[in-house]
């Protein structure tokens, strides 16, 4: 029977909310704020840490198969071209070459640098190299504007010949109230245009897979993917076989950050077709240049913001007009530059600009780091115009009850008042402090299932097709199951990333943990109940009389440890499942967070050094505080890297990327990594039996904004463009005030 439960959700000692929720009859009992937990909420080392540290963890890239063949695409490195001629005969005749297939024939059009034109398969990597170099393709190169500015020109070549490159977003403008009238009445207003760059995901393991044909038209596929389910379905379609005939395995995954969502890619398909044709396993994985060019990126942006406020700092109106490119597709302008603060009058307009470049893909908090950089820059500029403290302006306009707590917490940790009142100093190295908000929306969902098997010898396995992409999903499942069974997390074997096990969520949108954690808990509770029933039979009591406390089952004077209970199981053990139930009502639909950055800027060289970051974040209940801190720290580091270093640079005439390597496309290194102080405001979100929410994305949302505001504070000049390179710092200093 569904039952109603009265509960208090939120932060103990902070903002809370009283609720009555109707709990699903089969769901695990909800953990509320008062729940006393043994391992949940503590530092638990990652369960696959020892294997990873020993180099024993096998990634898709590491899988060795007998008779493995290799596949790669010959690519066109021009932004816009028409294929004139394709010569593959010489390549086909080379020793070790197993197959050559033309993907774009004469007359075919290429609209981004990196497009695959010919697919090649060979029995060794060396033979593949030779074959790729032996393929001759000639092109008629056409003008192909690759930058957002060039592509907007009316005379520019069109990506889609039927329409201009700049197209208003199909969803239309977002409008609230009367922003023009409100701005006219405002006590103060500022207007600024912010620009951000294209960032590539640069996961260390590149995209790709191995496809191995088996008996009866079945296939085993090892894939570096963020969604085993989507990969399985799209691979089955490409091979023309039922979904059940394809097994996808992603045991360990070397980073994705959004670029490995959404099923197979061109190269995966070609590998699969060669595998089917040759009857042997075929591996296709991108090299670093390909990864930069064809496997996704974060769109750039030009964001014109006008923001107005009353004399007391209350926001009155926000107008945000954004341009952006997602490459030769149709999106790109979706910068989240109007969320977070309460504004009664709003206009948000977006124009997507098609360019002759590889397509953008979801990238850790799509639209948010760029949007928050602009919004928070505008907030600081407005505070300056109003002559009030930037933090006070935020506190006045931030409607999220938890972020109100977090702003104060973070300000105290960074020493906001001290740093603001000390000012940037007068030497050649100036000091600044800035802040920005995080926001995210993920409560998890779906109807995913986790299976838990308990054996006579006390071994416990939790299984789901969900992949652990480095976020610690495997460990979260181990902790939740261990909590319910009264054992150590290390005793739980978690089998992840195999589509033979119950389907799990894709790892995108920070949905993984809150989607798959609750059913793991439910399954573990089922397993505990199953053991109690076995004990009840053994002891001749009712199952309901068997209690479980402190890691032991008891009924009257009788007691049994977990292992003793397991020993009573039959040879088949106990196999139970838990299902993700629909979300309940909860504390707040948005996760909250904020970050503060302290920087030093050398005004002679223009070099920015981030000294310290304080990151305060919420993700509902934190299951493992150690791996959660890793997530936060990682988000901050990616954010600093985006703020200061990363930029896809294109040859303006040819449209090819001129920095497609890891030495020329710079990411933040260990020597430049600041001290990062991570504060987790763990609370009961109420939305599911464990109170969990998502963490991966919000933690990288505010960083660039906070760093840029700190640099602006240090310089006394507003930074409006990323990345904040030394050249831009020096240029900003030369701008007339």
């Amino acid at each position: 029977m569904p039952r109603n439960v009265k509960t208090t959700v939120g932060l103990p000692g902070g903002p809370t909310r009283e609720l009555t929720v109707t709990v699903h009859e089969l769901d695990a009992p909800r953990w509320d704020a008062a729940a006393r937990l043994r391992v949940v909420g503590t530092d638990v080392p990652r369960v696959d840490g020892p294997a990873k540290a020993a180099g024993a963890a096998r990634y898709t890239y590491d899988v060795a198969r007998p008779r493995l063949a290799y596949c790669r695409l010959v690519r066109c490195f021009r932004a816009h071209a028409v294929v004139r001629e394709v010569e593959t005969a010489a390549a086909s005749k080379l020793r070790g070459v197993l197959g050559v297939r033309t993907l774009v024939g004469p007359g075919g059009r290429v609209t981004f640098s990196g497009k695959g034109v010919v697919a090649v398969c060979a029995e060794s990597e060396e033979a593949l190299d030779d074959a790729v170099h032996a393929v001759r393709v000639t092109y008629d190169v056409r003008p192909g504007p690759a930058t957002t500015d060039d592509a907007r020109d009316d005379a520019a070549a069109r990506v889609d010949p039927r329409r201009g490159n700049a197209v208003p977003d199909a969803r239309g403008p977002e409008r609230r109230g009367d922003p023009d009238a409100a701005l006219a009445r405002s006590h103060a207003q500022i207007a600024l245009t912010f620009r951000t760059q294209v960032q590539t995901h640069s996961a260390l393991e590149t995209h790709g897979c191995i496809v191995e044909p088996g008996a009866d038209d079945t296939y085993t596929v090892w894939a570096s993917t963020q969604g085993t389910g989507a990969f399985q379905a799209s691979m089955a379609q490409a091979l023309g076989v039922p979904v059940e005939s394809v097994r996808v395995i992603t045991e360990h995954m070397g980073g994705g950050f959004g670029a490995k969502l959404g099923g197979i890619d061109e190269w995966d398909r070609e590998a699969a077709l060669f595998a089917r044709e040759l009857g042997r396993p075929v591996k296709a994985m991108l090299d670093r240049r390909e990864e930069h060019l064809v496997a996704g990126c974060r769109p750039d942006s030009v964001q014109a913001l006008t923001l107005g406020a009353d004399a007391d700092g209350s926001l009155t109106a926000l107008v945000a007009r954004t341009l952006g490119t997602a490459g030769n597709g149709a999106n790109g302008a979706d910068a989240a530059n109007t969320r977070v603060y309460a504004v009664p009058n709003l206009l948000r307009e977006q124009t997507n600009v098609a360019t002759f470049t590889g397509r953008a893909r979801a990238f850790r908090a799509p639209g948010h780091p760029q949007g928050m950089f602009a919004l928070e820059g505008a907030m600081d500029a407005l505070a300056e115009a109003l002559r009030i403290d930037p933090l006070a302006l935020r506190l006045r306009n931030d409607p999220h009850p938890l972020r109100q707590v977090q702003w104060r917490l973070g300000a105290e940790r960074i020493g906001w008042e001290r740093l603001r009142s000390a000012g940037p100093g007068t030497g050649s190295v100036r000091r600044g402090v800035g802040c920005a908000a995080a926001i995210w929306y993920q409560k998890g969902g779906g109807n995913w299932v986790v299976r838990v098997d308990v054996r006579r010898d006390g071994s416990v396995t939790a299984a789901s097709a969900v992949q652990d992409i480095g976020t610690g999903t495997r460990t979260v499942l181990a902790v939740l199951v261990a909590e319910e069974l009264g054992i150590a997390p290390a005793r739980v074997t978690v089998r992840c990333g195999d589509t033979r096990d119950p389907a799990g969520p894709p790892s995108g949108g920070s949905q993984t943990a809150p989607s798959i954690g609750p059913p793991a808990r439910e399954a573990a509770v089922r397993a505990r109940e199953g053991l109690a029933e076995v004990l009840a039979r053994e002891w001749g009591v009712e199952a309901s009389d068997v209690a479980f406390e402190g890691g032991a089952f008891t009924a009257g004077a009788r007691t049994a440890t977990f292992d003793e209970a397991c020993a009573l199981l039959g040879p088949e053990g106990l196999s139970v499942s838990g299902t993700r139930r629909a979300n309940y009502d909860g504390f707040h639909g948005e996760t909250a967070g904020c970050q503060f950055a302290e920087v030093e800027v050398d005004t002679e060289t223009g070099v920015v050094r981030v000294v310290r970051v304080v990151a305060v974040h919420d993700a509902g209940r934190i299951v493992d505080t150690l791996t959660a801190r890793s997530q936060v720290v990682g988000g901050v580091i990616q954010g600093i890297s985006y703020a200061l270093h990363e930029e896809r640079q294109l040859d303006r005439n040819l449209g090819d990327m001129v920095n497609p390597t890891l030495d020329t496309y710079r990411i933040l290194g260990i020597a430049d990594c600041p001290e990062i102080d991570c504060v987790l405001t763990s609370l009961d979100s109420g939305f599911n039996n464990a109170g969990m929410m998502g963490l991966g994305e919000p933690v990288t949302v505010p960083t660039a904004g906070a760093v840029a505001n700190a640099v602006s504070h240090a310089l006394g000049v507003r930074i409006t463009e990323l990345p904040i390179t030394p050249a831009r710092v020096l240029a900003a200093l030369r701008r007339p005030r």
Binding site: P45, R46, D48, G49, P50, A51, K52, A53, A54, G55, A56, A57, R58, Y59, Y61, D62, A64, E125, E126, S202, A203, L204, E205, H252, M253, G254, G255, F257, D287, R288, I469, G470, T471, G472, L626, T627, R629, S630, Q631, V633, G634, G635, V636, I637, Q638, T661, L662, D663, I667, L668, G669, I670, A671, C673, E675, I676
Partner: protein
């Protein structure tokens, strides 16, 4: 230690090897180029390749035989021929450190060394340092401190940190460590935990060496 010093010490230079098996024979290491593909230049110098050649590599204390083309990198030979897949190919140009191994006790990027160049050297890979069940103190510290997320850069970082710890011993501090391993890149953002783990692992290695209990002094300079 520079690659040049290493090359001189084992009496094999890259140029000598590319030129022919003469230098290699002098080092007494290369066995026999696969006969069918061995070529002889006019000057009588025996040239290895372009077909596969037979090499004996000393990996993690054992002699391992491979049959590889001279152009094959040590990284590809370790991974593809010897199934030692801990070292990763990420940047493929000596920028990221994910393929860090030790050649004669000093870190090297296996992506930038030919397999044939490594003949005669002691090669240590992450697998030679320890195992999940019996980890090296640095590996244990990485796992304990969560100095990894996706883990793809981790073997390279462990090799670089363990070398820094052996080299600097008790003198290893935050700044020295960061400088020692700044040739390694991580995309998940594990650096602060890497620093914590490396300093902790280094202390344990020093303690083990001082008590004479461990093999942490291996190759110590």
């Amino acid at each position: 230690m520079s690659g040049r010093e290493r090359g001189e010490r084992r009496g094999v230079t890259r140029r000598g090897l590319l030129k022919g098996a003469g230098a290699a024979a002098a080092a007494g290491v290369i066995a026999r180029p696969a006969a069918a593909l061995a070529q002889h230049a006019d000057d009588g110098v025996e040239i290895a390749g372009p077909g596969p050649v037979h090499l004996v590599l000393r990996v993690n204390g054992a002699a391992r035989e491979v049959e590889v083309e001279p152009r094959r990198t040590l990284l590809d030979a370790l991974r593809g021929d010897l199934d030692l897949t801990g070292a990763k190919r990420v940047c493929d140009r000596g920028t990221c450190g994910a393929c860090t191994i030790w050649l004669d006790g000093a870190p090297a990027y296996a992506c930038s060394v030919l397999a044939i160049e490594a003949v005669g050297s002691e090669i240590t890979t992450i697998e030679g340092l320890g195992t999940p069940a019996a980890p090296h103190p640095m590996q244990a510290a990485f796992a304990r401190r969560d100095a990894l997320q996706c883990g793809f850069c981790t073997p390279g970082f462990v090799m670089a940190c363990a070398w820094a710890a052996e080299t600097h011993g008790a003198a290893l501090d935050d700044a020295t460590l960061r400088r020692s391993v700044c040739g390694n890149l991580c995309r998940c953002g594990t650096y602060p935990h890497v620093v914590q783990a490396a300093l902790e692992g280094a202390r344990e290695m020093t303690a083990a060496r001082d008590s004479g209990a461990g093999d942490g002094a291996k190759g110590g300079r």
